[in-house]
Amino acid sequence: MSTEKQYKDIMVFSEVRDGELQEVTLELLGKARDMADASGQRVCALLPGRGVSSYADTLIACGADKVIVVESNVLEKYRNRYYADMLEGVVEKYKPSILLFGATSTGRDLAPRLANRIKTGLSADCINLEIDSEGILIQTKPSFGGNIMVEITCPEKRPQMATVRPKVLKTPEEDASREGEVIREEISLEEGKYLTRVIELLKDAKSDQGLEKAEIVLIGGRGMQTKENFDELYKLADILGASVGGTRPAVREGWIEESLQIGQSGKTIAPKLIFNFGVSGAVQYTVGVQNADMSISVNKDAGAAIFNYSDYGIVGDASEVVGILIEQFKQLM
């Protein structure tokens, strides 16, 4: 039986995919730092993989007090059972009170495996985390497509585990002057224990990472009415240096590919500026854009819910307004 007292500090699983440290790790470190400061704990980044130790400095600059590097050939490619073995060892030794993962294809695969091994609570795909004065992690996640928000806690078992959706927490500013400790942990992992191999990675021809990194995003919804109208968004995007995404209805109409769908069942984005054209504003959609700095919406229905999630609005035909915006921005830029 785990007792609360032995378990301390906040650990962040640092995800390196295809040689690249994932942004969500930094987002988690920023939040972990704030929660650690509020509760008198430390932030520890767990960095497993092969050839990953060079990322330790970045993790410290983003808020880690301590980086535990676990280098192993076995961990080069993500395979859940080897990673679960490694994590079991780390949790046993370091006893974090909180253990966080990105809600990625890796995090959502690994965290439930580990939670069932060490028999503790886990919440999925959170959009916010807070810590209370007792060190209890308050985990907020959307349910029913975003219609309902649920706050979950794990009052007794430790660690308190959560996966957190990318792009919902702010990436902290890197502070190169921050100091931290780097620990190299040897964990014995034997290749061949599990008969699983990753044969290859088939990368999408068109990278959809652009949409998640873009500062300006144009979203088209059902109100764009036709593929031809929808395609006008790309002209405006060229002028503004923006990326284009779509709502689920737009994807269903075949106006844009599914990998560029925004919302609960698609991607979450947090650009500086977002334009919603002909988007009704169902919660399934708005949950994916609620962290945009500024939001502008165009819809012919003055009562559309999207105006409740926007800074500025124009009531009018979306594709007509796109045409006018193209003309006016052309002259400006």
């Binding site: 503790t120 309902i148 599990y194 007509e320």
Partner: protein
């Protein structure tokens, strides 16, 4: 090589438009129809397709109230050979950790000698996707999540394409294995009226807390480490300032506002 396949399915509300009852502070489920989780239909379909190709047996299981028998009948109508309801008042309020434990025991009780377990990638009500991997861990078997395509099943091995952030990962593992599937890997074929009528008359099996040798304290809410501390409806973040006038005028006002805010 014939395949002994389990499919874990879940009953979910037919609509996501659920409300919180202000008096009880719980979800208002009254009058809401329930259906089989959409991803689970693809899991059942895939199991049936695998059986058609390799031979074997498909067993559907669900944990839920007796009303969940409806989705078991649907699974049978689609082609599942056996169906089990895992149900007990003691199971109410289970979180994903406990649900994994209960379903793992159910599988072991029904038939330890399985090749594959299929689950939907997540249930559309709570969207966790945690029960499948949890079961795989408890059963000590391989797990393949977010599977878009099964590429090969032979020599006791399975090769799949799993959906990852920047594309697909081709992964091979030895069976037995548990897979969670997306809606990409097949087209669900709806059962014909005769199969539906036959399924309606089928006697379904059930397993309770005692059958699975659990103490009531190990399951349901009492066995669950997580607690729902609050439910709420998200509040809109801001009400837009609306620019009126004809299209060109409204756009000019918008552009002016963006300039003032130094956005452009």
């Amino acid at each position: 090589m014939s395949l002994n396949i389990f499919v874990c399915i879940k009953q979910v509300p037919d609509t996501m438009e659920v409300r919180i009852n202000p008096k009880t502070n719980n979800l208002d489920r009254e009058g809401i129809e329930c259906v089989m989780n959409p991803y689970d239909k693809h899991a059942i379909q895939e199991a049936i397709n695998l059986k058609a190709e390799h031979g074997g047996k498909v067993t559907a299981i669900t944990m839920g109230p007796p009303s969940a028998n409806a989705i078991l009948r649907e699974a049978v109508a689609m082609g599942a050979d056996e169906a089990y309801l895992v149900s007990d008042r003691a199971f109410a309020g289970a979180d994903t950790l406990v649900t994994s434990h209960v379903l793992m025991r159910a599988v072991e009780k029904i038939d330890k000698d399985f090749d594959l377990i299929l689950c939907g990638k997540q249930a559309v009500d709570a969207d966790t996707g945690q029960v499948g991997p949890g079961m795989a861990e408890r059963l000590g078997i391989a797990q393949l999540t977010f599977v878009d395509e099964i590429m090969a099943v032979n020599d006791g091995k399975i090769t799949v394409k799993r959906h990852v952030e920047n594309g697909h990962e081709v992964v091979e593992t030895a069976m037995p294995a548990l897979m969670t599937v997306t809606d990409k890997l097949n087209e669900v074929k709806y059962p014909n009226p005769l199969s539906i009528m036959k399924a309606a008359r089928r006697e379904l099996k059930s397993l309770c807390c005692d059958d699975l040798c659990f103490c009531t304290s190990e399951v349901g809410q009492s066995g669950s480490p997580t607690v729902v501390s609050r439910l709420y409806t998200p509040t809109p973040r801001s009400k837009a300032v609306i620019f009126d006038g004809d299209g060109a005028t409204a756009v000019s006002k918008l552009v002016e506002a963006l300039k003032q805010n130094k956005v452009i």
